[in-house]
Symmetry: C2
Subunit: 324 residues, 2 copies
């Protein structure tokens, strides 16, 4: 399924088309600024709240664009993907809106409520081991059965769909000096770089220290193909994709890392000021703004808050002892 | 402090003025519809998310209107109020934005994070017993010291400010058939009734069974002045105010009750479909839509989600065992 043509990436026109294509399915999510949070972070922060997107994450944008594109092309039948959860739930809902089934390969160590969410939206779950190889192998089986593959990030339609979050953000908030997003497989950061690049606005991607394969790939100037992820940020454990790495290398200003401790502290801070419980993956951006004042101090920043799919008991356990 | 002139209530022009007065301080909160939640509740629900308002509740609207009105009138000095927490935090922030201090009388059994929030926004906390009489007595002391009283609900500026949530909602979502709000002291429901009444839209208020003083007041056609509240919905334990009761009696279509069990189940359901952790007070409206299908089935409903000031660990404890 992994097509390795790194030239097959969307451009800004593809993002405009994606915005039109998915407008009836996705929510225009709100953007919040909070002066107390700004004081804590020493910047002016506009949080694009994709945690309030349908299915609880930005992934519904890419999934909607992929499914609507299949429909436009007259491509019928069920779809298959691999996912730590959010893309799976998003694809399950998008597929069901178009009368299809989604088969979702999920690592055994996926967050239980994310497994349940895939099923609740009508998806069929297939478990695999918690490695990139196992994910790809198990997905390959579904493709051989005739399912249409929709890769969670290494796919031009997914990248264009994820980029629509920043297309919206840039319309909602004029004058942003930079945009910052979490970085896992790279679907969001690459779509964001295409959206923001068209306006000359730099984009930063944030990886957890325990899943910093993109930083390693940039250092060796070649994509790392395998990585044993070890981080609380379950949504960011995947290895960066081929197309995604090509865009990141060319268009992302810098990739930075944050530790799990910094992530937990950022979850606590964000809740204190906004009353929203966000996933550890989302909190990487807040953690990074705190950690790298030499980059972010005093700036007018757009941050994509990627998802809120974490049960409150787990949130409480993760943040215990990390007062803001 | 309790002025007992029930004729001193705002009209729709006061609400329009309040909207203009507070527009630079309050957030225009988002309104969400979710088809899965609609399917569970058998209606079309538009949730006006005041849990995402500054200070985490709609109370910042009334507090802002009260403080801005003082400023307009040239009335200088610190303010005082009593509050289970959300009005206290809201008044503390509004006062600080105008360079004032807020003195907040709080029942000893207030939610700890609400006490902390009052202090974080610069308010000064004074504890009292958990009765209406004790709240009023302790507040009277502050007023004798020269503080300007800003009653949490029995105050025309507060009522007008709270009504701005529905003024916004009615602009955001055309064609609502009814609006439903939680009911504690009655500031929100009375402001809502004034806003919606101007368009001929009926308003329902929801009380917890353990704080159903307004239902009792309506039954005996006279305001109950004391009530020993016993409910998980800490924001709704106050006794309905004089002005508030006058508006409710004249303009609110019906007051309904929900049990604490129904409230906890509704908190769980709302989170499952929206990923927002809302206070038990907020969840009364979701619980009531479930409980009274003969009233709400098939309707296009606006619901004020009043606040999100509940720590996730407490949320998890309250909803444990209440799957949606």
């Amino acid at each position: 399924m992994r097509e390795s043509d790194s030239n097959d990436v969307p451009d800004i026109e593809d993002l405009h088309r994606a915005c039109m294509r998915i407008r009836d399915w996705v929510r225009e999510t709100p953007v919040f600024n909070d002066p107390h949070l700004d004081a804590s972070l020493d910047c002016t922060l506009y949080s694009k709240c994709e945690n309030l997107q349908r299915t609880g994450s930005f992934k519904f944008r890419g999934a909607s664009n992929a499914i609507c594109s299949l429909r436009e092309n007259g491509s019928e039948g069920d779809v298959a993907t691999h996912s730590s959860g959010n893309h799976g739930a998003a694809l399950a809902l998008a597929a069901s809106l178009d009368g299809r089934k989604a088969h979702v390969v999920m690592p055994e160590n996926s967050v239980p409520m994310k497994i349940e969410a895939v099923r609740r939206y009508g998806g069929i779950v297939h478990f695999c081991s918690a490695t990139q190889e196992s994910r790809e192998e198990e997905l390959e089986k579904r493709v051989k059965e005739g399912k249409i593959p929709v890769h969670p990030y290494d796919n031009a339609n997914i990248i264009a769909g994820q980029g629509t979050a920043s297309m919206e953000l840039l319309q909602q908030i004029p004058g942003l000096e930079l945009i910052i997003t979490p970085l896992g497989g790279g679907g969001l950061v690459s779509g964001t770089a295409i959206a923001a690049g068209a306006r000359g606005i730099p984009v930063y991607g944030i990886e957890p220290e325990g899943a910093a394969d993109t930083v390693a790939s940039l250092q060796q100037d070649a994509r790392v193909e395998s990585w044993q992820a070890d981080t609380i940020a379950d949504g960011l454990r995947a290895v960066v994709g081929v197309r995604n790495f090509a865009v990141i290398r060319a268009q992302v200003k810098q990739v930075l890392t944050t530790s799990d401790q910094e992530i937990c502290r950022a979850m606590s801070l964000f809740w204190q000021e906004t009353r929203m419980t966000i996933e550890p993956s989302s909190a990487t951006v807040i953690a990074a703004i705190r950690k790298y004042p030499e980059i972010f101090r005093g700036k007018k920043i757009g941050a994509i808050i990627t998802g809120g799919n974490l049960d409150p008991a787990s949130w409480a356990a993760m943040t215990e002892g990390y007062s803001a």
